[in-house]
């Protein structure tokens, strides 16, 4: 654990001394909950339609697949016409595109950003690296299977996938959301302990709470 997360006594600007325990004071310890769908199917269908038509992607280029995001934002492929846009902060996003391989150091930040996103949220695994490690299957620093650490809703295969296949993947994601099949967030809450055990197995210096609200 880093020094700045340890319990210590701090002198404030006014000269008073007080104790700080960052892990308790700064973070909330609650676990995520499973969200039941609305009992009225008409309302639930309407809400799924609304969710599917505004996919806001977190602009976090975790790997080399992020290079194809730029053409996707610009006039040639223009994903904005499908209601897809990029947001700078996890609080405003609901789709997390894992663009390629994840090194252990990035996985820690990815877990944190994913948990900070507002539900309902979806994970898109991009490229063959997220499926089985791709060409980094024997690397000591990249994960092999993304679905052991985050609940993946859809994979887009390729190394790297072309913008056309990304658009097709997002269309497929929309169909799945409309049909109510994208329950990754609930899956994460149900199997929370299993996901956390897997994450903690490879992230050696775990210095954050179990769930980052």
């Amino acid at each position: 654990m880093k020094e700045e997360f340890e319990k210590r006594i701090v002198t404030g600007p006014d000269g008073k001394q007080f104790e700080v325990d960052p892990m308790k004071d700064y973070f909330c310890e609650d676990r995520p909950q499973v969200h039941q769908p609305n009992s009225n199917t008409v309302i639930e269908k309407f809400m799924n339609w609304a969710r599917s038509e505004s996919l806001w992607i977190l602009g976090f280029g975790t790997g080399c697949g992020a290079i194809e995001m730029r053409p996707l934002m610009t006039p040639r492929f223009d994903a904005y016409r499908y209601g897809i846009q990029w947001r700078p902060t996890p609080r405003q996003a609901n789709v997390f595109v894992i663009s390629g391989y994840l090194s252990v150091k990035t996985l820690k930040r990815v877990v944190r950003s994913y948990e900070q996103m507002q539900g309902p949220k979806y994970v898109v695994g991009l490229g063959s690296c997220t499926i089985n490690g791709g060409m980094y299957w024997d690397s000591y620093n990249t994960i092999n299977r993304l679905d052991y650490y985050l609940p993946v809703d859809i994979y887009i295969a390729g190394c790297m996938p072309r913008p056309e296949s990304l658009l097709a993947g997002f269309e497929q994601l929309k169909k799945m959301i409309k049909a109510g099949e994208c329950e990754g967030q609930n899956k994460y809450a149900e199997n929370f302990d299993w996901y956390k055990a897997n994450q903690k197995k490879i992230i050696k210096d775990w210095d954050m709470p179990d769930y980052n609200w």
Binding site: V10, G15, G59, G63, P71, T74, S103, K105, R109, M135
Partner: protein, 392 residues
């Protein structure tokens, strides 16, 4: 309160080595992380900034978010198997990786590549330079709040990528240069389609010139930002446009001419003022120089002929013991591969010298100090750093 250190001085105390004295507990400084999930950072890396007011007092670069261990992975792959993975080292311009790696293998194994293959490689490298600069200019404008430039320049980049697709079959990763030559020559009618695209790119560049380089906001924010003293160039190992903007004519294409650059007519572009604006303007001129070079190459290159030298069976290829270093001028500076072989079927060690290695770590940590926090993104982009080549 008797302790005077908590009152706000205009400037913090200096350490003997010129860095600022930081005490995070006294409430005067704030530590913030810019990145890895931040729109104002190039790629996946982070800056640990300590700020006072809105001035940066200390900057530390953190890399390693994209580390895949290429140098280790290549040690347990055959020579030909290195090519699919080596292109992933610098994603926006993978061709320089292919060229340097195949050139080291060819040199150590004593293979001469045919004339047509050399021209083809030169063409691919120049096209890679063009598309990378086009992407960069959008990033530089975006970091100063001008989103529309990125829309135009990325459209222009897509045109170049189409031509890449025509030759190699890949949009981003081409893997077209293999030891012994290239995998194929340009298809019929390529020159005509390329010329059409070049004309269109020149038109877009003209618009970018007026909207970006003559824009008062861009000028106001970038002139004087991130001044690199010419005396730092050797101390910090600065190469490429960053060094040329400081007035030092370092260009690997001229100094250590490789492939067919001796037969092409171009000059080393230098700047004077060495700030972010000069660097941006220099790269704009590089785009025009690159367009000119592509035209020259297309006029001079042979349309047919042998493009692959005789290479031993690549799955059972043993290169004799030796070591060499091959460099090329990529968009960011000197890009090189240092390869050691030990006579077996696998490389002993491959080390990649990426220009961002010095630009993003030692230089960025120096330049960011005393810079406004809103300008760190623009400063970072103006150094044209790219994290995967720092950590490989």
């Amino acid at each position: 309160m008797s302790d005077a250190s908590i009152y706000r001085d205009k400037f913090p105390q200096k350490n003997p080595d010129g860095t600022n004295q930081i005490d995070l507990e006294n409430g005067k400084f704030i530590k913030i992380w810019q990145g890895p999930n931040h729109p104002g950072i190039t790629g996946n890396m982070s800056l640990e900034l300590v700020i006072q007011g809105d001035e940066v007092m200390e900057c530390k670069t953190h890399v390693g978010y994209l580390h895949r261990g290429f140098e280790k992975l290549m040690e347990r792959r055959r020579f030909i198997q290195c090519f699919p993975i080596c292109v992933r080292i610098a994603v926006p311009e993978p061709d320089f990786n292919e060229y340097c790696l195949s050139a080291t293998f060819e040199e150590l194994a004593g293979i001469e590549i045919p004339e047509a293959a050399q021209w083809m490689r030169t063409l691919l490298l120049e096209m890679a330079r063009l598309q990378s600069f086009l992407m960069w200019i959008g990033g530089q404008a975006g970091s100063f709040g001008m989103g529309v430039i990125g829309q135009w320049s990325n459209y222009a980049r897509d045109l170049v990528l189409d031509r890449f697709e025509e030759i190699t079959g890949g949009r981003i990763y081409h893997m077209h240069m293999t030891p012994g030559g290239v995998r194929g020559l340009a298809p019929e009618g390529f020159e005509k389609r390329m010329e059409e695209n070049l004309v269109e790119i020149e038109m877009i560049m003209k618009d970018i010139q007026t909207t970006m380089f003559e824009n008062a906001v861009f000028k106001k924010r970038s002139i004087g930002l991130g001044y690199i003293d010419p005396s730092w160039v050797y101390d910090y190992g600065i190469t490429g446009p960053n060094a040329r903007a400081a007035g030092i004519p370092k260009d690997v294409r001229k100094d250590y001419s490789y492939l067919k650059y001796t037969e092409l007519d171009f000059e080393v572009i230098t700047g004077k003022d060495s700030d972010a604006y000069t660097r941006a303007d220099l790269r704009r001129r590089e785009i025009h120089s690159s367009i000119d070079l592509i035209r020259q190459i297309l006029a001079k290159m042979p349309k047919s002929g042998e493009y692959m030298a005789k290479v031993p069976n690549v799955l059972h290829w043993k290169i004799p013991k030796g070591e060499t270093y091959v460099r090329s001028e990529c968009t960011r500076g000197e890009f090189g591969y240092y390869t050691v072989t030990d006579g077996s079927g696998y490389p002993r060690r491959i080390n990649v010298r990426g220009p961002s290695y010095t630009h993003a770590v030692a230089l960025m940590e120096k330049l960011a100090v005393d810079c406004n926090i809103a300008d760190t993104a623009g400063l970072m982009v103006s150094l044209h750093t790219y994290p995967p080549e720092i950590e490989r």
